[in-house]
């Protein structure tokens, strides 16, 4: 086993462990913090793959913005929600079953990808991954259409959010 | 000069025959109203007689006669002398008087104070709780039959006032710690007055305005203080917040209460003079002035010319130093990190130097005496005053003004925030800069000139918008006017004695009542003194502008952001020594 593999396993354990804690912990804010740990693990995975841009963006967007909004929301709610109440519902087993099914599907999918069982080849020396990624996102041969569609979707969501907020204010 | 003659035109007994009679006791004035007719009479006072400004409400306990009296001082905001209206009720529990809050909302805090200290219940008061004493306090301390737990004597047990051998200190009779007894099972260390908090929060919720649009949200109650850096002392503000917006607000005070008035009634008349310094400890000269005026009215003496000029000069210097402090503290409350404050303090120090030169103390001056002032100006002080008030201060005030008033952040945070409209300002009995910034040109120096203010040429500053920015700016205006008065006074200052009577430890004060009011830096400062011919006043009441201005604090803050609460409080400019007394 190489150092990278050890690192990968450790990171995997971190992600899974903290993901488990997200649903297992009793305190809402702690759950949000475990989520942050899980997201951070994903960023480490990107870093192991030398996808430095994605690693950094993962931190900026998921940890720096989305998770902090979760925490923001948690802090604005009442504190009574903290330590009481049943943690599972009666039909939890359906959810567990569904989760297992999805896991199986994912494993199946990953195994179907050619070369999923091999280590990634080292990137060529001097390759500017950021530039390559940027080019891929905006070049017509590659991903410009999905990229633009996603932008439009986000814009629509943004406009919707503004609308909802402004309607609430006027009444 | 006797007590101010009641306005002849305002003949209340002709308007309400039978239920209103003139107060005929020797040395007294005003009108005695039947209890049942009080609301009707006050309504008529406000609406028909134009006395729209309730300056002061206070109680008097006439223990020997078995009566209690509530005294209302009402004035016209257009100026001129006011009216004294009194209600007498038998001294049998519960003592009850109808509340005038519905007619003069400015009575709210004052009636609470009377309830707290005298135990006079005001029926119809919206929020009658104790205010200066804590909830659960036994008795009403300003009643004459209430004995202080520690000094259980009628007068202070000083050797000079008791025959040799008879004098004994209360402390030696009741060593500290043994003079208090508790009910069985009561531990003062563990006692938490829960009811008080409940009553307070209940009062907050009463004023709640609920916004029903959208999601139901919780309101948070935040207690600012009593330990908080921007409450200017031990003052507590209970705020109910919706997010950061203030839904309702209640000031909670009394943490610095030492029952100044009770002390004043135990002291001799002259002994009270240094005590007045401690009321608004930033403007002691002005406090002295008001008290001296009240007692001089009773004694019927007038200070000599030179003393009058010195008094006016000192009072105006006090105003400048107080306003400098107010400007500094307000900008500090707006978050300017001490810089304007320190620039203002630098100038204030120079004024305090002059106080030190004339009185020997920088803040607790104790400079005024009945019929004059304590000492003349020492040599060289006049030159110092000239240098400071003709040369340095005008320039420095302009400089501070220039730096602060064009600052975009101060404009943004001040303009249109914490507005007190002119009607509200009168309604809530606001006084001083707070009232004038709302567009009411009411200044006691003009409305009812005392001392020699009728000789000076100055303007009554007024600003129209009643927001935080105007309240900041009006202080600059007033400093400039005070400079003008001082400059005139220095030029006209005559030679001569500074005291009309020989200095004495004891003064003889004829029986009667007197209300002396001055335009203090924070507003109308009034002293209501009743003498029964004994060495100590029978009643000694302070109309504290800081305290009464706080009546408008809640309404001014409703709908503002929490950050503005601090700025609004700073713009009212309170001193806790005066609020809690």
């Amino acid at each position: 086993m190489t150092a990278e593999q050890i690192l990968f396993l450790l990171t995997g354990a971190l992600i899974l462990g903290s993901a488990l804690m997200v649903v297992a912990t009793r305190k809402l804010l702690h759950a949000a913090l475990w989520l942050v740990a899980a997201l951070f693990g994903v960023a480490i995975l990107y870093a192991i793959l030398q996808a430095s841009f994605l690693a950094v963006v993962q931190v900026v967007v998921y940890i720096g913005a989305i998770a902090i909004l979760f925490i923001f929301a948690v802090m604005l709610t009442r504190r009574e929600m903290r330590d009481q109440g049943q943690q599972t519902r009666t039909n939890w087993w359906i959810a567990a079953l569904l989760g297992l099914l999805i896991l199986a599907g994912l494993v199946f999918l990953i195994l179907a990808v050619p070369g999923a069982d091999r280590l990634p080849a080292a990137l060529p020396e001097g390759l500017d991954t950021v530039r390559a990624l940027g080019n891929a996102l905006v070049s017509p041969e590659a991903y410009v259409l999905p990229f633009e569609v996603a932008s439009v979707l986000l814009l629509a969501a943004l406009v919707g959010a503004v609308y909802i907020a402004s309607v609430g204010k006027k009444d | 000069m006797a007590t101010p003659a009641p306005v002849a035109a305002l003949n209340l007994s002709a308007r309400f025959p039978g239920s209103v009679t003139a107060d005929a006791r020797p040395g007294y004035s005003g009108w005695i109203v039947e209890k049942g007719k009080l609301l009707e009479v006050t309504q008529a006072l406000r609406d028909e007689f134009g006395c729209d400004y309730l300056s002061s409400v206070t109680g008097v306990d006439y223990l020997p006669e078995g009566k209690m009296e509530v005294v209302y001082q009402v004035y016209k905001t257009t100026g001129g002398p006011g009216l004294l209206v009194k209600v007498q009720v038998p001294r049998a529990d519960p003592v009850e008087v109808p509340s005038v809050v519905s007619i003069y909302p400015g009575a709210e805090l004052q009636e609470r104070e009377i309830w707290d200290l005298f135990g006079i219940q005001f029926s119809g008061h919206p929020d009658l709780r104790r205010i200066l004493m804590w909830e659960g306090f036994a008795g009403h301390p300003m009643r004459k039959d209430w004995k202080e737990a520690y000094y259980e004597e009628d007068g202070k047990p000083f050797k000079t006032r008791w025959p040799e051998g008879k004098h004994a200190l209360a402390e030696s009779k009741n060593p500290f710690g043994d003079n208090i007894s508790y009910p069985a099972g009561f531990d003062p260390e563990k006692w938490i007055p829960e009811d008080a908090e409940k009553a307070l929060y209940g009062a907050l919720a009463r004023y709640e305005v609920r916004d029903e649009a959208g999601l139901g949200t919780d309101h948070v109650i935040v207690n600012m203080g009593p330990q908080h850096p921007s409450t200017h002392g031990v003052f507590r503000i209970a705020v109910m917040l919706d997010g950061e917006t203030v839904v309702s607000l209640k000031p909670v005070m009394g943490y610095l209460h030492r029952n100044h008035e009770k002390i004043g009634e135990r002291n001799t008349f002259l002994m009270n003079m240094p005590y007045t310094d401690r009321l608004d400890y930033l403007s002691s000269m002005s406090n002295n002035f008001g008290y001296a005026l009240a007692v001089e009215k009773l004694m019927n003496v007038r200070p000599p010319e030179r003393a009058e000029y010195l008094r006016v000069m000192m009072a105006e210097m006090t105003r400048i130093s107080n306003h400098l402090m107010a400007i500094g503290a307000l900008t500090n409350d707006l978050g300017a990190y001490f810089t304007p404050m320190l620039y203002a303090l630098e100038e204030r120090e120079l004024i305090l130097d002059i106080f030190e030169a004339v009185s020997g103390a920088r803040m607790m001056c104790n400079y005024f005496r009945f019929g004059g002032v304590a000492r003349d100006l020492p040599e060289g002080t006049l030159q110092k005053i000239k240098d400071l008030f003709f040369e340095r201060l005008p320039r420095r005030i302009d400089e501070i003004d220039r730096f602060l008033t064009e600052n975009e952040i101060i404009r943004a945070r001040g303009i249109g925030q914490g507005v007190l409209t002119a009607e509200d300002a009168i309604k809530y009995s606001a006084a001083g800069p707070l009232l004038r910034a709302s567009g009411i040109p009411y200044d006691v120096r003009r409305a009812e000139p005392y001392s020699i203010y009728d000789r000076f040429d100055f303007e009554v500053c007024v600003r129209q918008n009643g927001d935080i920015y105007d309240r900041l700016m009006i202080r600059f205006d007033e400093i400039r006017q005070s400079l003008r008065i001082i400059q005139q006074a220095v030029k006209q200052l005559p030679e001569g004695p500074v005291a009309a009577v020989k200095p004495a430890y004891q003064v003889r004060v004829p029986a009667g009542e007197a209300y002396g009011r001055v335009e203090g830096p924070k507003g109308e400062l009034g002293f209501y003194v009743i003498s029964n011919g004994k060495p100590s006043p029978w009643r000694y009441h302070v109309r504290a502008p800081s305290f009464i201005n706080l009546t408008a604090f809640g309404p001014m803050c409703t709908g503002q952001k929490i950050a503005d609460v601090v700025a609004v409080l700073g713009s009212i400019d309170i001193v806790l020594g005066e609020v809690d007394r």
Binding site: G64 | H228, D333, I415, G416, N465
Partner: protein
């Protein structure tokens, strides 16, 4: 990744953290002296010559202070929060180069650079660390179980998220100008012209946004003394408070270093020293000195602002961030990119269009702000 390289990182990191901690101590001294000068006072002058030992005295006092833990606090988070706050402040400058390549020296067969980590997404690394810096404050506020602290925490969250957008967009202008996200490339791209000249409005936005990011006056909402007592660190005392305090001041230093690097030419010489002996090309050792001088000046700017400006109200602060800074910085990114494209495709002189048009945009923004203020003023009369 060899043992030697890890050792190198460790040593460099250790040295840099030591410098930052010492810098924190003397930044407090610097701030207090400078503030005192502005406020016609003297400032600390008792401990040691010129009061130079004052920070040490403060540290000793803080160490011996009693540690308090609020009764119903979240114990673990309360303990962790200062650490979480301090860490980003210490690691954020890891990618900043402090000297030119000419200053690198060989040691035990390795070339030692004047940079802890040379990663190709350096500027984005800064962005990401800046975005997680808010956690410590939020957790400190939440775990104290105190309304003031919590309000402070909430305010800081909202404020930092809002101003991060403007901050990130001003980074984008720099990336576009330098055509790289590597810090050393960004510095070298400013060899002939600082980005301060090419994108002056971007620089101003960056400085304003960083003031908000590090909670300095006039954006010191989270700890607004007059409103929230001390905000998120109301309940902290002793060394835990010292850590929070340290984080705040190290953030100041870090942000000034970053500003110096991306807008003021980093370790490059001042423009008027080009092609002289003082140029880092000829005398590489001057590189770190230039960084120090620039940081010193920028820090003074921050102190100056604190001494002279009152605090903006919270809702105004948010409005300013979202309604003015964000659209303006978006416009600037667009303007910068267009300018560069035109310069490449048409005429290099279009490069000068960037500052001109940006200044015009900034002017329009200020005018808009002014108009809204004036309108309010007319409305009241």
């Amino acid at each position: 990744m060899t043992f030697a390289s890890i050792l190198e990182w460790l040593i460099k990191g250790f040295v840099w953290v030591m410098i930052l901690l010492g810098g924190f101590a003397y930044l407090t001294y610097y701030e207090r002296r400078a503030l005192a000068r502005i406020q016609v006072r003297i400032g600390p002058n008792r401990a040691g010559p010129l009061g130079l030992l004052q920070p040490i005295a403060d540290a000793i006092k803080l160490i011996f202070k009693e540690e308090l833990m609020p009764a119903r606090a979240d114990k673990l988070l309360f303990f962790l929060a200062p650490i979480i706050t301090l860490t980003p402040a210490l690691v954020i400058t890891a990618v900043v180069p402090f000297g030119p390549e000419g200053l690198n020296f060989p040691l035990f067969g390795r070339v030692i650079t004047w940079q802890i980590a040379d990663i190709n997404v350096g500027i984005l690394y800064i962005m990401s660390i800046a975005s997680i810096a808010v956690y410590g404050i939020v957790l400190a506020g939440w775990s104290s179980n105190n309304k003031y602290a919590m309000l402070g925490g909430l305010r800081s969250t909202a404020q930092m998220i809002s101003y991060e957008l403007a901050l990130g967009l001003s980074f984008v202008s720099v990336i576009v100008l330098a055509d790289s996200t590597r810090m050393i490339d960004i510095v070298e791209a400013q060899k002939s012209m600082w980005f301060m000249v090419l994108q002056p409005v971007g620089m101003v936005i960056f400085l304003i946004a960083t003031l908000a990011e590090v909670n300095r006056s006039p954006f010191d909402m989270p700890e607004a003394e007059q409103e929230l007592a001390a905000g998120y660190h109301s309940e902290y005392g002793g060394m835990k408070f010292a850590l929070l305090f340290m984080a705040e001041y190290d953030k100041m230093i870090a942000i000034c270093i970053i500003a110096a690097t991306i807008f003021f030419g980093g370790y490059r010489e001042f423009w008027f020293l080009q092609n002289t002996w003082f140029s880092v090309d000829q005398t590489p050792i001057l590189g770190p000195v230039y960084v120090f001088i620039k940081v010193f000046i920028l820090l003074f700017g921050m102190i100056w602002v604190r001494a002279t400006l009152p605090r903006i109200r919270y809702d105004r602060l948010m409005a300013f961030g979202w309604k003015i800074l964000l659209p303006l910085s978006l416009a600037l990114v667009f303007l910068t990119a267009t300018g560069i494209l035109l310069a490449q495709e048409v005429n290099p002189l279009f490069m000068w269009g960037i500052p001109v048009v940006s200044l015009a945009a900034g002017f329009i923004a200020i005018l808009g702000m002014y108009q809204t203020l004036r309108r309010k003023e007319h409305a009241r009369a």
